[in-house]
Amino acid sequence: MLVFCLLVVVIFSFTFDPGSTYSKEAAPGILWVAFTFSGMLGLNRTFSQEVDTGSIHGVLLAPLDRGVIYLGKMIGSFIFMFLVEFITLPVIIIFFDLNLEGHYLQLFVIIFLATIGFVAVGTLFSAMTVHTKTRELMLPILLFPVMIPVILSAVNATASILNLEEWSKILGWIRILSAFDIVFITLSYLTFDFVVEE
């Protein structure tokens, strides 16, 4: 995940002249392309190893509400993805010569909320697609259309932050991301049992 994410950032950075205004304009999009595509690699593996070895049934047999298993998987995916983003962010700041001027907290909030939304839906869809033959292909095909609100909000909010705009300018995007997170975590928690049951 981390290597892929860094590679995306480095390859895109080569396509622009150093310090050009175009690179700064494209940076929010590139940042989220790197995050979402590397996150997809992680989500594809959320259930695949356990399904391949059969150990997923051992977990499903445990006397737990299966929503708890979903939350555990989601939190695990979130930690990995957030770590990758945390390591990649300084690299993209250096390669694209970005200036955050104290707007780190805003960017942290946007990355945090968007990543939660991404893994909330991604974990559920990963459980849905893991039994299909073309699971690596199916997951992005199903997931990206649903993720449009998250990706649009995250890219626009990141662009506002990089333009050093105030909190009030990104508040609308924060509301959209928060609403998406609450709705999809709740829905996924409630439907996970039916997704994993045969």
């Binding site: 499903l60 299966r66 045969e198």
Partner: protein, 236 residues
């Protein structure tokens, strides 16, 4: 009493179970026999709540197992052909992980005790992927009985086991029987099934084709009856 009522499961527009009705008494061992595709494993998967029926229900003391499946899962242990173990974890780590999931008190002590019981104490810190099939199945036995289940479900548990592992499993089943645990055993070995069971049922095409108490007939009588049922077309 476990009461199975009108249990129906459809896969790809084909009936895996077709209105199954029967009872399992507490503290008894039921052996289910039948040809491949008869619905035996489907039944175990539904009974273990891994799968949900299209129609019908399973009742324990009058309550549907699907009303509070998490509570029901606390009472069961499942040994299947697949071991449900994590190959990258050690034997002890696997047992501790499952003991924690089942909220077994003092998981480390319980894991160590069970590793001794199944004869794997000397390999407790080795990764499961380095184990032979027989050793993995021994560990799977330990995993299934971690929570001291009231109901033990065994889906062809003898597959791939060497003689000593088979004996260990048989001993364990007999021990659980003596403790009045309910056992549902699926096997293709008629002799083994007949010797262990109190009641025997033959599944065919998603229905019960025959059921009897093992005390009511001899093993050879049952063998003959079983082959007649399997050879006959349609349900008997």
């Amino acid at each position: 009493m476990i009461k199975v009522k009108e249990l129906t499961k459809i896969y790809n527009q084909q009936f895996a179970l077709s209105g199954l009705n029967f009872d399992i008494d507490y503290g008894k061992c039921l052996c289910i026999l039948g040809p491949n595709g008869a619905g035996k494993s489907t039944f175990i998967r539904i009974l273990s709540t891994l799968s949900r029926p299209n129609q019908g229900d399973i009742f324990i003391d009058g309550k549907s197992v699907f009303e509070n499946p998490a509570e029901f899962r606390r009472k069961i242990g499942l040994i299947a052909h697949a071991t449900f173990l994590y190959p990258e974890l050690t034997a002890a780590e696997n047992l501790k992980f499952y003991a924690t999931l089942y909220r077994v008190p003092k998981p480390e002590k319980r894991a160590d005790a069970l590793l001794k019981t199944v004869g794997l104490a000397h390999r407790s810190n080795d990764r499961v992927r380095t184990f032979s099939r027989g050793m993995q199945q021994r560990l799977a036995i330990a995993r299934a009985i971690l929570n001291e289940p009231e109901i033990l479900l065994l889906d062809e548990p003898y597959t791939g086991l060497d003689q000593s592992a088979s004996q260990l499993l048989t001993d364990r089943i007999l021990e659980l029987k003596s403790e009045n645990r309910t056992i549902v055993l699926i096997t293709h070995n008629i002799q083994q099934g007949f010797q262990l069971a109190d009641k025997i049922a033959v599944f065919k095409e998603g229905r019960i084709a025959f059921e009897a108490e093992t005390g009511d007939m001899t093993e050879s009588e049952f063998q003959q009856r079983y082959h007649e049922i399997i050879a006959a077309g349609g349900n008997n």
